[in-house]
Symmetry: C2
Subunit: 227 residues, 2 copies
DNA sequence: GATGATTTGTACGTATGTATA
DNA sequence: ATATACATACGTACAAATCAT
């Protein structure tokens, strides 16, 4: 990412930061499900710390949208309405589209080759039908694009958005069908990048993200907007 | 804005939140200039509170980008490099373009009329050459567009970005020339909105924002990207 | 509706790490 | 290079508000 991390707080030298990362992991991995109440004292005991750094960690998580605070009423893992979730996915799609558009015009030769390599590696994973591995490679692919936009504020924003959506993205690639489709869409996007048509790449990326969110919305039973 | 405020922290019932708003005002208004060191104890004395809520306020400001924290080394008002400032302006421009594009397709008749009224009111202000008043009306105009996008996450994001840039936007409308130009650009944008061409409105909005940032970059002596 | 238990919000003191002499 | 000074990070205690009884 960047020298100034997405949340604005320098990396894990403080206890609060350590706890923040730990909690974020538990939330994004699903160990702490959306809607779960979080008790400061319990977390403090669990991490062997006092309430002070825990409070700071929770505040930081709140500003990144992973938890919601209600003054004097406690903290809980963010549980988004399907409406709001749709809005988040839409913003994610548009943000990714912006990234690839800028990246098309600005990425270096090295970055272009690196992106192609990432894509080729994932091709093999599609054959093996290894969902977990593809999930990781997919993240790497998209993250590479964020940075290739050569706008670190935008890149941080994109990473933060992805993190915020993480709790709702599990089981994204249910069915090898979706997995193959995802890879094919990446292929089309790269083709436009290589041709230097950022606008087209952006449109394809937006569609790619909205397709993914629609699939997810269907899975969650909600209704993702713009599906 | 929204039921969940941009920072994720519900409005001013806690001391920490009060202090946060107070400090944010001082920073965005320029009373606390970029680069200024902020001393917890001093702020605590000034607000008649202890250091604890001050710390929380500073943490919140850090995650919205208004201040930067260095663990055990203190806090200072964010002083952006001209490079990073350019990146921020670029993201702002693209975000605003996105807002107007979505708004074009989604705004209600009421919202459309309201936007036109805001625009007409500012026309009068241009004649009077009242810079401060135009500045406020300009903010209202843009904010109305954020909400008309009918994506509250996006709207919150846009508001947060604008706030983050506020310390660097003073003296934005130096010279009545720039003021008239701004108004004319708004006019062109509205025209496209009324014609229902969201893409065109977006392009014009992006150019509008980049023009403004370029003017500002010139004023600040830096080099805003994309000028 | 009032009271008590629980949890958060705030205050303050100590420890630790950074910067300076 | 060592030591001193200083501000922050953390821990603990108290106060206040919310929720349950």
């Amino acid at each position: 990412m960047n020298q100034e991390s997405a949340s604005g707080v320098p990396p894990g030298v403080t206890l609060a930061e350590t706890i923040r990362v730990g909690l974020a992991d538990e939330i994004t991995s699903g160990a702490l499900a959306p809607g779960t109440e979080i008790d400061e004292q319990a977390v403090a005991r669990r991490f062997g710390a006092s309430r002070t750094p825990v409070r700071e960690a929770l505040r930081a998580l709140a500003s990144s949208g992973l938890v919601v605070l209600s003054p004097r009423r406690g903290v809980r893992v963010a549980a988004l309405t399907s409406n709001r979730l749709g809005e988040l996915f839409e913003l994610m799609a548009e943000t990714e589209a912006l990234c690839i558009r800028l990246a098309t015009y600005r990425m270096t030769a090295v970055e272009r080759v690196a992106l192609q390599m990432l894509h080729q590696q994932s091709a093999r994973t599609v054959e093996l039908d290894d969902i977990d591995r593809y999930d990781q490679q997919n993240i790497d692919f998209h993250t590479a694009i964020y940075h290739a936009s050569h706008n670190s504020v935008l890149a941080d924003h994109a990473v933060a958005l992805r993190l915020r959506l993480a709790p709702f993205r599990r089981a994204q690639f249910r069915g090898e069908l979706r997995l193959r489709q995802s890879h094919a869409e990446h292929e089309a996007i790269i083709a436009q990048v290589l041709q230097g048509d950022g606008e087209a790449a952006g449109r394809l990326m937006r569609a790619h993200m909205l397709t993914a969110s629609a699939a997810l919305a269907a899975y969650l039973g909600g209704s993702g907007r713009g599906a």
